[in-house]
Symmetry: C2
Subunit: 206 residues, 2 copies
Amino acid sequence: MTGLRERKKAETRAALGWAAIHLTAERGYDNVRVEDIAAAAGVSPRTFNNYFSSKAEAIASRHLDRSLRTAAALRERPADEPLWAALTQAALEQFTRGPEVEAMPSPAHAQWVAGVRTMLAEPALQGERLRAVAVAEAELAAAVAERTGTDLATTMYPRLVAAAASAAVAVAMQHYLDSADPPTPIERLITDAFTQLAAGLPAPPR
Amino acid sequence: MTGLRERKKAETRAALGWAAIHLTAERGYDNVRVEDIAAAAGVSPRTFNNYFSSKAEAIASRHLDRSLRTAAALRERPADEPLWAALTQAALEQFTRGPEVEAMPSPAHAQWVAGVRTMLAEPALQGERLRAVAVAEAELAAAVAERTGTDLATTMYPRLVAAAASAAVAVAMQHYLDSADPPTPIERLITDAFTQLAAGLPAPPR
DNA sequence: CGACTATTTGCGTGGCACGCATATATGCGT
DNA sequence: ACGCATATATGCGTGCCACGCAAATAGTCG
């Protein structure tokens, strides 16, 4: 099944995605040309658009992949685990850092974080990132429907759960990025967000 | 306060936004040039980009305005109304149809709905629409923070509520558009979604 | 090995976003 | 009512981007 062709395609896609992100974090969104990304991935400029239909999409691609993995992770959770517990765990699993980042020396890492922050602030990218989340949300909704035995077509329930879960993760990430020192661990924020959601978001004590 | 300048600006912006949506629903996204939109609004092509930084942004502009109105509506609700009731009402208020649509003759209206459906399916627009929702969500979070006396900077609560509310509306709209005949009234779907959210989205009976 | 299909590449085209300089419209103090 | 200061509209030029098409190249399978 996994012939040479398929593997090469996946590799090219990954290389393009990573190059896009890396260069953008380094130089800023509009100091990176499609040409540069293609060159960094060792491929012709024209080929870039065989994989992604825009620069923004390429940059968001890893975000998409990661988000999709949440749905897959939910399907892996034991069937007798309560829904919200399973969702929380599935979400948490996606926040282990990849090897490219893990291998960075410390000063480079600081610059990297700063670059990513700037990148996330770019309006042209936000839309694409949100679109990726939306796509993944659909997958997640399907997984929730399976797990709970509800009907995706006639009931809002699975979509509501998926949307709420995505929202929880998004809010936790935003909170994590905004509140600088000392950062509350992202795991705690996510757990927290899910707990509040499952409790119906009651007004907190004042 | 509301000088001639300000009013003209608002009018031009509205005209451009409406023209963009109208033409796109009619002919499809990439059969509409920026030039056409500008012409329909009686303004030079270059001026278009003084108001919107992309074609997609122009088309999403009304969506943005509407979403922003939800936050404003929440601020108008009586202070002693429970949070979720107030949110539900604020959301419902945004779903009264505008005069341009209301005045349409029936056959035109059917085509209009079809056009809007196609428009919403356009990938290039989805991102921009989602971005608009995100912007409005920030406003909504601020309003929630005010109303509940929670701190936007240190607590996730207001953002969680805002995100969940946006998600509820989005899911309701999607459900409304997907399930064709006979459509459940959107008001009922929205109310329903909010109720489930406020109850903590418990697994439904099977 | 040899035909078959998928993928890559180069080239050309149409369109878009925006910087900059200039013209025009509005606001405001006198 | 007038004219200066400021905001907005417009025209033009530039660089980049997405993509259609056709030729070349590389994997796949009998």
